[in-house]
């Protein structure tokens, strides 16, 4: 695919006129998807797709077009020519763009992690065999994902990674379930079976009679996946510089009023440690790390090239949506094995679900408990908890109510493959809080 992409770029080089420039971004994949319900196959198939976003620039005038490519140069060449002609015709009607920032420093790169996966069918055979006797539901995705950038200055970036991601739940009675995942570049059947066995062990706890609690504030331990549901909301205009500048960010009070979180909270966008490409769609290179929270203070934000130009500041290679692709929350000093003991009496929350802002100005979030969530007494799991709605502020939860973060962290791989395979990831610990407000 890399050769094909370079041939596309060469074609584009030859199609430019006068002072025209181009930049282009390729997203492609050849993915197997197998969906399970009740330990049987619900849907199974393959998706092979390539999308190229081509921008034509003439001075400060520019327009872009995203097209589906066949992956065959002889078929795609005429489409490229037509698209470039169409973009050229558009430019005449467009005003100059005062917020256009062009990557002028040529920084080419290549990262190729070719597939060392067995045939997907073999992995599916192992999943189905191990799942017999359980009620397993979920999705398996595997295959290579490609991203490329090229421009008329000669910059070429290529990122190719083959991986698998199995994201599944084991169900017990009713809506009681344990959610798990197994992802990587090398499939190890023994490791999958061990994870399945662990999930089954936890599910046994979920089979106890569930209890309901009254709305109110409770001590709580948020497992990494639950904490991720909360921190992930900062991707809805939280750490975005544009949202901060236009006073729409829920972190506005941290920047303008000096509101601080607990000193243990240090959040980073860690491109070097993530799965996403280290370059973005305009050709800017992402720094290895961008500090967002440092010891509880808002230390930075994600600045796209467009925002940088608009406000006269430096970009840090953020994507246009100014969202974290490789979230990294520093560990604390609470051993995960002691989390239940430290919780004492309260709620162990395995997962949260469907969070949304209930009061952006105060960074208040609402959402639901889901999957493995238990009532704990004196450090012992007593019973699964029927789902509860929370409504609380991040400023409290990770502020004066935070008692500790675990020293172990978990790597969570994004499964939100809308339109294309997701490359987002999060590395984060669990969190112990003295109060978590439940309202329904």
């Amino acid at each position: 695919m890399q050769d094909y992409f370079h041939r596309l770029a060469s074609l584009l080089d030859g199609l430019l006129r006068g002072r025209e420039q181009y930049k282009c971004w390729l997203a492609g994949e050849a993915s197997d998807f197998v969906r399970f319900n009740r330990s049987a196959i619900r849907q199974a198939g393959h998706v092979r797709q390539f999308h190229l976003t081509l921008s034509l620039l003439d001075g400060l005038r520019h327009a872009k077009s995203t097209m589906t490519l066949s992956g065959r140069i002889e078929d795609d060449h005429p489409l490229l020519e037509r698209t470039l002609s169409s973009l050229r015709a558009q430019l005449a009607d467009l005003p100059e763009d005062p917020h256009l920032l062009i990557a002028t420093q040529v920084q080419s790169s290549e990262h190729v992690a070719a597939s060392c996966l067995p045939d997907s069918s073999a992995m599916i055979d192992e999943v189905l065999a191990a799942a017999q006797g359980h009620d397993l539901v979920g999705i398996f995705a595997a295959g290579p994902v490609y991203h490329g950038f090229a421009n008329s200055l000669g910059q070429r970036n290529w990122h190719e990674k083959a991986s698998f991601h199995l994201d599944w739940s084991l169900y017990g009675n009713g809506d009681k379930a344990v959610k798990s995942a197994y992802a990587g570049r090398e499939w190890k059947g023994d490791e999958f079976r061990a994870r399945l066995a662990l999930a089954a062990e936890r599910l046994a706890l979920m089979k106890r009679d569930p209890i309901s609690i009254a709305p109110g504030a409770y001590r709580a331990y948020l497992a990494p996946a639950a904490l991720h549901e909360i921190l992930g909301m900062l991707n809805w205009g939280g750490v975005s510089e544009k949202a901060l500048r236009t006073r729409q960010s829920p972190l506005r009070r941290m920047r303008e009023e000096g509101v601080q979180l607990h000193r243990a909270v240090s959040l980073t966008e860690a491109a070097a440690a993530g799965l996403a490409p280290a370059f973005q769609e305009d050709g800017f290179i992402k720094p290895d790390r961008v500090a967002l929270f440092e010891q509880g203070r808002l230390a930075g934000s994600l600045v796209s090239p467009r925002t940088a130009k608009e406000y006269g500041i430096e970009t840090n290679g953020a994507d246009a949506d100014e969202a974290m692709a490789s979230l990294d929350l520093a560990p604390g000093d609470l051993p995960m094995a002691q989390a239940l003991a430290a919780l004492d009496t309260g709620i162990f929350i395995g997962n949260l679900w469907y969070a949304n802002f209930s009061d952006r100005a105060n960074c208040c979030l609402t959402g639901m408990t889901r999957f493995a969530t238990f009532w704990v007494e004196k450090g012992e799991i007593k019973a699964p908890l029927n789902v509860m709605r929370f409504d609380d502020s991040l400023f409290r939860l990770l502020g004066d109510k935070l008692e500790g973060l675990t020293c172990e962290r978990e790597l969570l791989i994004g499964s939100e493959s809308y339109g294309a395979r997701c490359t987002r990831s999060a590395l984060l610990p669990g969190a112990l809080v003295s109060e978590f407000r439940f309202v329904l």
């Binding site: 092979r48 077009s65 763009d97 917020h99 739940s169 679900w353 469907y354 329904l440």
Partner: protein
């Protein structure tokens, strides 16, 4: 072009129990003006096909953007491979399914017309509304946008089905943010997710009240800054259509999706508090509640002639006089559940397989005027335009927030309130429905991005609703 694909497909289709090809070709344009600056204009050309094969009891698919003979051959081989891999190990024996083999043509409003106004004129329109937003220094951000998608779809089976459908999806939007001190308020035209989306041409802008919206919406954003917070307590709640569409979507639409009830979505989107044994007798809401799946309003966002499994679409009651009648389930889910559904098996594009989706899900108008509903309220709040939504994985416990609220006291509309929120439980909330607005309160709206499925898909959904009045709802404001 699609005729040559048809010939190729019919020549290449293997001898299996069932083989279909679904071709999607789309061209799109997105224009936006933010703070009087044209954002990079974007066009799109989407083209690809999905092959589906059922054989030996299994079902497999393969989607490809390579529509050459070699590309289709490879897709057929891969779909066949996955069908074989699923034989005897699938949630249903696909050899027992009987999908229809229908043929026909459907074209939505403006689908066969030339492009709307020249791009230059559309940009000028957006620029005009953007400039009109800047009425005060407290307006800190504003944006106006339009998206037009022309979509052609062709569904073929190797044994005779041939369905061609064309659509034009038109999505306008505008949002204005005002700030003063610690308070930031955003007001929009139909919601920040473009609730005035419809099928059709420039008439969609007229329906949305797009011209003149810039100043109007900006004024409302400023008014919200000056308003007190919504009061808290149990009271009457009058929901206008811009919020009703979200209420319908989350707490009727998703729980009635048959694939959720069958458990397919339990790892991601969730399950449902509705179970198969409820259909035919369960009281979902008060006797004023009538809910229809209605793909027959041509202008609504998710109207179509056939779904993506080739089933003909027609209006059906899901809830009649408050009683649950049928789910939102396509042919495959219906066969699995042994229950009658509707033609709503849909995919977001050529690269995802169809699953049960909402399409158009509407509340039928009632007999109450807006004035009459307001007059009947001793103490309550009118809420409009969704801004926050959250509901549990069984689609029961919900909490929703709106952009705009008005107090109602002693039968009269009073002052504006900001940050209006409410929460409840689906299974009881709809039974608190006290009045349903008449035709004069009815609006056709939609949701451009409804997410669901593994791998996830975002599809177009339509919702039409009158204003509705609920009693004893837990209402609250911001901090």
């Amino acid at each position: 072009m699609s005729d040559s694909i048809r010939s190729l497909f019919l020549r290449l289709a293997p001898a299996v129990d069932f083989c279909s090809l679904r071709l999607v070709e789309e061209s799109s344009e997105y224009l936006a003006v933010r703070q009087d600056v044209l954002q990079p204009p974007s066009t799109g050309i989407e083209r690809g096909a999905m092959i589906t094969i059922m054989d030996g009891g299994g079902c497999g698919y393969a989607a490809t953007s390579d529509l050459s003979e070699a590309g289709l051959k490879e897709a057929i081989a891969r779909a066949r491979h996955w069908a074989q891999a699923g034989a005897g190990r699938s949630v249903v024996d696909y050899s027992t399914l009987a999908l229809p083999r229908q043929s026909g043509v459907y074209a939505g409003p403006a689908a066969q017309e030339a492009s709307p106004l020249p791009r230059k004129n559309l940009i000028e329109l957006l620029m005009r509304e953007s400039r009109a937003c800047r009425i005060n220094a407290r307006i800190v951000d504003w944006q106006a946008w339009l998206q037009v998608i022309d979509s052609s779809q062709r569904y073929l089976t190797a044994d005779g089905a041939d369905i061609s459908q064309q659509f034009r999806y038109f999505t306008p939007g505008l949002a204005v943010t005002a700030n003063q001190g610690a308070d930031t308020q955003t007001r929009s035209l139909g919601g920040q997710y473009s609730g005035y989306c419809r099928q059709g041409g420039m008439e969609v802008l007229e329906h949305a009240g797009f011209e003149g919206a810039g100043r109007r919406v900006a004024e409302q954003a400023l008014e919200l800054l000056a308003a007190p917070n919504c009061p808290s307590g149990s009271m009457d709640l009058l929901l206008m259509p811009e919020q009703m569409m979200l209420q319908i979507h989350e707490s009727i639409g998703h729980p009635l999706e048959l694939d959720r009830i069958l458990g397919d979505e339990r790892n991601f989107a969730g399950t449902s508090f509705v179970t198969l044994d409820m259909f035919g007798h369960y009281r979902y809401g008060s006797e004023l509640l009538n809910v229809t799946y209605d793909p027959t309003r041509p202008e609504q966002f998710a109207s179509y002639g056939w779904d993506d499994e080739g089933c003909a679409a027609g209006k059906a009651y899901l809830i009649r006089d408050g009683i649950l009648e049928r789910p939102l389930g396509g042919a495959i889910s219906q066969a699995r559940a042994g229950i009658e559904g509707v033609a709503n098996s849909r995919a977001c594009s050529w690269n995802r397989p169809p699953i049960d989706r909402m399409a158009n899900l509407n509340i039928e108008p009632g007999a109450s005027s807006l004035e009459g509903m307001i007059k009947s309220v001793e103490r309550g709040v009118l809420m409009e335009t969704n801004v926050s939504w959250s509901i549990d994985d069984s689609r029961n416990k919900f909490q929703f927030g709106c952009e705009y609220g008005r107090l109602i006291e002693d039968g009269e509309l009073k002052g504006l309130v900001k940050n209006p929120n409410y929460r409840g439980i689906s299974a009881t909330f709809w039974c608190s429905l006290k009045a349903v607005g008449d035709d004069s309160t009815f609006q056709v709206l939609g949701v451009p991005y409804c997410g669901k499925g593994e791998p996830p898909q975002a599809v177009h959904v339509g919702h039409a609703s009158p204003a509705c009045l609920f009693g004893n709802v837990d209402v609250f404001g911001g901090q």
